[in-house]
Symmetry: C2
Subunit: 333 residues, 2 copies
């Protein structure tokens, strides 16, 4: 590459675009990338049912402790497919670059994409690059859609009082990391984003346990994800504050600043609803893997509080956890 | 909706996001939209081979004579699938909104998406909405990926001298329309973008003719698309200037400003390579439909000029048409 910054010509569809795709995208995606520069990819789905999802990523800053927009755009879409009961296979990669973006930043991000895709066992099979003028974007925005094969039929319609709520690990790390960075607080050494692909961990659980529902609690956090589940139902959800797994730095931020990690984004966590009879087995399967070693049973489905999510606090009072109504921290993902 | 402008909270993943999706996206997409707010969609592909593509759209201005970014983001992705020999079925919709975007602009664009998707017979099956601060985006950027079923096996490896090059209609209208708008020239009354979904027209051709290769000549135009085809091959392509179909306003801009419509973007045109023996049939099939009534045979594959595209000019001289090296007009799509 002759240039060390993105220029508008990189979005022309001509020679500069080809060079950028070849020297940055194909190069750094390696085996996780497409085999050609064609506009699309042919997928051999045999006779399976497919799951299809899309997400745009506008996280700011682009790089943060624990990951970057590249890690996030792969893990986020992989996790969306996995919590729908699918084995993620193919991802698309649509990037919108702002003119002036240093090429070395782009290269670091594409390397993250390649590394994360390879680790998750997915291929980035098609892509597209656009460039906007300096001041009309913000470094890089990425859309990754994804296609997977449906392997697990969930059964949210069978959820009933007594079912247990599990989470695969510590709550709120991604959101709290971004918040400390953005507000200019000193980031504690051991606070970092939990950004990770969960398809393997989730596959282990669904292979052994009758999971009724799963969700990755990203924007809006655990409280919003569970509210979406309970909304309009004839049952409620009660979380136990004492059971919620928080890292020390997140607990510290909660105490110092009054922030509620239940509304803070996670990018490497899954929530599960499982029958009470299988909850111990689910916990064991989760805790066998590093990504699930802090898994915990955090609450249960209740006959009371229909349509609502309540928190049984450490002071043994009940607090209703509403849905997030605005955005305490924009551009978290 | 309480607000008449996009605010950052619309990207929170909480209640405002839900309202925006329900009151703008689900409402205006209608039957062309998803049946639920779930993160992804289940596709029933039976035992077919699938084609998968992605494109981001950053066109400026958002609305222009002949279409808007909504028309474009559906037609563009539909056309990418169609020229790969696929029947387009499912599209994703990832939007990045800039805070301050008037809601009525967004509604007009989503209506265009719904109308264009319905006309093309495709469904927007999954979506995602993000919002960035005012000044960090430019109104609206859209990514649409798409999945289709492979119905036609093209055979670019059998292309040989004597094969004919066809285009489905007038050249350069989209690019020239955007250029006149952006440079502040008075737009001629009859100059407008050719933005259109070609899947039906292309399906008619591939049903009756042995098409060897197809492409929608968008960014970089006809010259760049044909250069990509010829590059590295043992044959060349010769276009006949007298045969090129241009609208009067495009020809006028070419003569007044020296702009070359062969490098100007098209958003509702397809190029075909077909055997000489079938070219008349292809032309007849194309001309039966309004979208193909100006179709023309514009050149042929030649034993000479290997790897190159040349233009036999009106003065009977040969001019080599190189690949576009930079971007004469950024953000055309």
């Amino acid at each position: 590459m002759v240039n060390d910054k993105i220029i508008l010509g990189h979005g022309s569809g001509g020679r500069l675009t080809q060079e950028l795709v070849r020297d940055v995208f194909l190069k750094h995606l390696g085996e996780a990338g497409p085999s050609s520069l064609d506009d699309g990819a042919v997928l051999d789905a045999q006779k399976e049912r497919l799951v299809y999802t899309t997400d745009s990523y506008v996280v700011s800053p682009l790089e943060f402790p624990g990951g970057d927009i590249g890690t996030l755009c792969v893990a986020g879409t992989v996790n969306d497919l996995a919590v729908m009961g699918a084995k993620p296979l193919w991802l698309s990669l649509g990037v919108i670059l702002e003119a002036g973006l240093p090429l070395e930043t782009l290269e670091r991000i594409v390397k993250s994409i390649g590394r994360t895709a390879k680790a998750a066992g997915v291929k980035m099979v098609c892509g597209d690059t656009k460039v906007v003028e300096h001041g009309k974007g913000d470094g890089i925005f990425i859309n990754t859609s994804g296609v997977g094969i449906l392997t697990t039929l969930l059964s949210p319609q069978t959820i009933q009082p007594g079912d247990k709520i599990l989470i695969s690990g510590m709550i709120g790390d991604h959101g709290m990391t971004l918040l400390t960075l953005r507000k200019g607080f000193e980031v504690e050494a051991d606070l970092k984003s939990d950004c990770a692909s969960l398809n393997s961990l989730i596959g282990n659980v669904t292979a052994e346990v009758s999971v009724k529902w799963m969700r990755d609690p990203t924007r809006g956090g655990v409280a919003t994800a569970l509210n979406e589940l309970a909304s309009g139902k004839g049952w409620g959800i009660r979380l136990e504050e004492l059971a919620l797994p928080f890292s020390e730095p997140v607990r510290g931020l909660e105490e110092l600043l009054g922030l509620d990690p239940l509304y803070s984004a996670n990018e490497g966590k899954a929530l599960f609803v499982v029958p009470a009879a299988e909850v111990q087995q689910a916990l064991e399967v989760l805790r066998k893997e590093p990504l699930g070693e802090k898994a915990a049973i955090i609450g249960e489905v209740t006959a009371k509080h229909a349509g609502k999510v309540v928190l049984n606090t450490t002071m043994n009072t009940l607090r209703t956890l509403g849905i997030l109504t605005s955005d305490p921290l924009p551009r978290i993902c």
